[in-house]
Symmetry: D2
Subunit: 315 residues, 4 copies
């Protein structure tokens, strides 16, 4: 089935460039053990290199616009003091060789420096720190993220408002996810998994207005390949305190749920850039598990923003 | 557990009055085989009797307002020529003894005649014919319905918009419902079941904009008592035509899901009446499987109307 | 994916011969509307023709043994007086042109007449009438059936003994089956479906020793193709009359569950014939939903018979 | 509902005696923080005290037989050198004050010393070490265990043989268990949970003859109380390597599934003792997740042993 696009794929592999291992952990390091990946490189050298790669790509293909999308494996949570810096503090720290950034943020910064929109489709940090958001606004480059809302969390952001609107109190929400693709191997490392579980879990409290007991697991089951299967058990209380149960089972092909969202995000970022919009694109919140600078996780409220944006274009 | 409210219940049974068997079928007739129910009664006599009962209730309890709620068992579909009459045609037909109305519509008309709001919580006809809607507007009495959206259909009106917004094409939607309460016995009669299945099925096409293959069953399983269990299997197509599956299992206590909605509907109707509103209350669409005079079945759009209404009250 | 065996398949289509429409219904007639199928043919002519086809096949391929397997679509139930005839009565009726046999039994009889074992993998009648069983014993030709136990019914015959052994009383057992292959179109005709539902339903009473409320549906959902999906809801009562629930969802590829059973049955029938065994092969009961001449539906007791048979071969 | 048996319960609480905290962990220690529980007591003193309690109970109620059943919360795994001792080595170690035993084994030993059968309904060690099994045989006292097979694991021991007999290769078997009773709090401590998960997991390899990838979780979800809910996802491979899925959801009341098994085990142990049987009662394997001295985990083969035993009684 892949035969039909082999030529195109081979042509495109020419664009593949070595990445960076800055601040990644052993699991990712093992999976990315390629000869061309620099093992010891300063942050400024790395930024220079990535900017050069991006610029080369743009000019080689004679493109007027390029968008950078992070679909790399999930990194461990990053809670360095860097997360609390302003842009000028971060800039100074980088210049003085004292700053540390996770790989996803290095790419984000490189993209912003060359004026390319940056989409963070993963729960990694990316442009999700105040300094980089400030810089994106300052440079007027669109950014959005984080963590594409493809399956189980999409369901959460759809069902939780129903429980809220019907005044059915959620007592507990348990979500067990199993899948067998490359992302699964990375998430099997507890430090990486922590970022993902947090991203899948936190929206319920915001939507419901209280914190039910929650449990989220995500485990690598090799035989499932790309078929992400989620079982969610939602225990809720109705009239006269009667306990009731909703369960759902989601069997989706992970990459094929993500792909069309990535394409739409890329187009919407490029459109925004052409319209002179920069900084966090809040109207794209419906695409993400943890939308930046936004406290609304109700999918339909988020989607209404996108519809309003689309309507405003027509005017 | 019922012991605590026995006295109240006994006091209230004094308000119970014989109903009517007009145009009901054998299953309902068998279940309602009570000595006091008139076996042969003309429509005008029946209307007189029901109006008298309603008036007596209002005056005996010294109430300024009363709301009539239909929570009786589902009737067979009604597609008489009456459904196409104007109010003046229907009025003339009743006067001349030629009109036929299903029991639910007789109650609706009696309620409207004495100025009481009428809520149709079932898929029966009730006030859901043009002539009665016209009469409600003319008399300025609030009406709403039909068929309370408590479980499986609520889920449909929540999930179908998600598939639409994500451009995931629904190929087939199968819903199997089992339950064991009195309503189940009535629905086991195919003529009654037809009304229910239609009410549970039709909203998908409206929300999605196309008609996927659908199947809805609703069967009486005695051991389940009031625990309505629904299994829905949704087959959908994602990127590159890949087929995926969402299944959900809903285990809810049917009466306890309905009760708070009935209370809210009664209060909202009484409020509307005090505010001088009459005719179909479209802002209550979110409560119903087949909202009257409304083509919108997306639960969140319907709920937004209720929120707007609530906001307008505060102004 | 089928490309690799195209040549073999084309070679084998040369063996395809027109069947018979005797006593089939309109749904099957429509699907089998081929130019070569005789529209009006007497039973004796049809038997002659089928025997000739079978003999030709055997001699053309120079085979010492041939087994006939019925994997045709399900026929309507057959409850003619023929079902109560002895072999000599049936033989006389055929000779005098008064007998009627369903298509599956015509094939069964033709096979037995030329000494070929007959496997009935469907719920149709096949060799499942006293007269043909008697004839199979008399001719010492192996027969077995009926209705291959591939999915949901296999689960029933595995789980019901568990409930029995643990003294957990089954209150109700609901099984909803959906699938989209050719068999599904045939079963969508209620007269054909009746045979199937009966075959899927009756074993519970035998295993449990009492009759819980049961419900079996089987519906054609086109998008599922060959993926048979079954949802079973088992309501049972434990200690102190507490009600509990087991649900299972079976997602199997119907043909690929059937195929290896068909191959094993063919080999086991040929083996039995070489060992001089004839009549109903009871040791093959584990393969069937409604094993002939056997009252045992507990899968593990049935399988133990197969193991005993296998052990006896080694001695 | 408990009102009806309050008097009996109060009468029986007089039989409650302080237990022991020997080698338990903090979670159990916190839950068992009662004034009467000795905080520092030697193993020999503890054994003396427990024997005295058991003897007192027997004489006060004038019983000819008493059976000791361990239904206490799960202990951490115990893999001390004690597990490899003979009875004479263990006896010597206890006498010299050097032996360490987990609480469950202290009770087991005390029971055996006063000639009472010991049932281990938990995954804790109990009489499950060679030295105590030897001592039980020597004293001719019946013992059995371990870990009552009530729900998800019962299902595993029923379904795995089906996959084996049908030659459907299990690729992965994922089992997620959630529940909210006291046992759940104890199992939330990872050291206790380890015993349970091992007990729920190991039988698959024995039944299937190979090790599929497995995952077992068991988590405390408070709102579920005693309703143990298990979701199992079984991925298997059929003909031509086609992957298929069976999922089941078990919703059982844990204590009410356990109670009748405990009663049956008590009676069967007392019967065995009256018949002069001692040591491990292998015919009770069908009751346990990890039957002692037995390698067979197929539920139906285990149950056949019980049937044979019952049949032998009648002879």
């Amino acid at each position: 089935m892949l035969g039909g696009c082999r030529c195109d794929l081979e042509e495109w592999t020419k664009n593949v460039r070595p990445g960076t291992l800055l601040r990644t952990n052993d699991t990712i390091r093992r999976l990315a053990d390629l000869p061309d990946v620099p093992q010891r490189e300063s942050l400024t050298d790395c930024l220079d290199r990535l900017r050069r790669d991006l610029d080369d790509f743009r000019s080689r293909h004679q493109l007027s616009q390029v968008v950078v999308v992070n679909v790399a494996s999930t990194e461990p949570p990053f809670d360095d003091s860097t997360m609390r810096m302003t842009w000028s503090e971060l800039e100074a720290a980088i210049r003085s060789g004292k700053a540390e950034l996770p790989a996803s943020s290095v790419y984000a910064l490189a993209a912003l420096q060359v004026g390319m929109p940056y989409v963070n489709f993963t729960p990694s940090t990316g442009a999700g720190m105040p300094a980089l958001q400030e810089y994106a606004r300052q440079r007027n480059v669109p950014i959005c993220g984080k963590d594409g809302k493809t399956g189980e969390t999409l369901m959460k952001s759809v069902l939780a408002p129903m429980f809220a609107h019907r005044n059915l109190r959620v007592l507990s929400w348990v979500g067990h996810n199993i899948f067998g693709n490359r992302d699964g191997i990375v998430l099997n490392d507890p430090t990486n998994k922590a970022s993902k579980v947090q991203s899948k879990d936190q929206l319920l409290g915001q939507i419901l207005g209280y914190k039910p007991q929650t449990l989220v697991t995500i485990e690598y089951i090799e035989s499932l390949d790309d078929w992400k299967t989620a079982w969610d058990h939602i225990h809720f209380r109705g009239f006269l305190n009667t306990k009731m149960v909703l369960q759902f089972i989601w069997q989706g092909c992970d990459s094929l749920l993500a792909a069309p969202l990535v394409i739409d995000l890329a187009r919407l970022c490029l459109l925004a850039q052409r319209r002179g919009e920069g900084g966090v694109l809040k109207h794209l919140s419906a695409f993400f598990k943890s939308p930046m600078e936004v406290d609304e996780n109700d999918f339909f409220r988020q989607f209404a923003w996108l519809e309003e944006y689309a309507a405003s274009l027509r005017r």
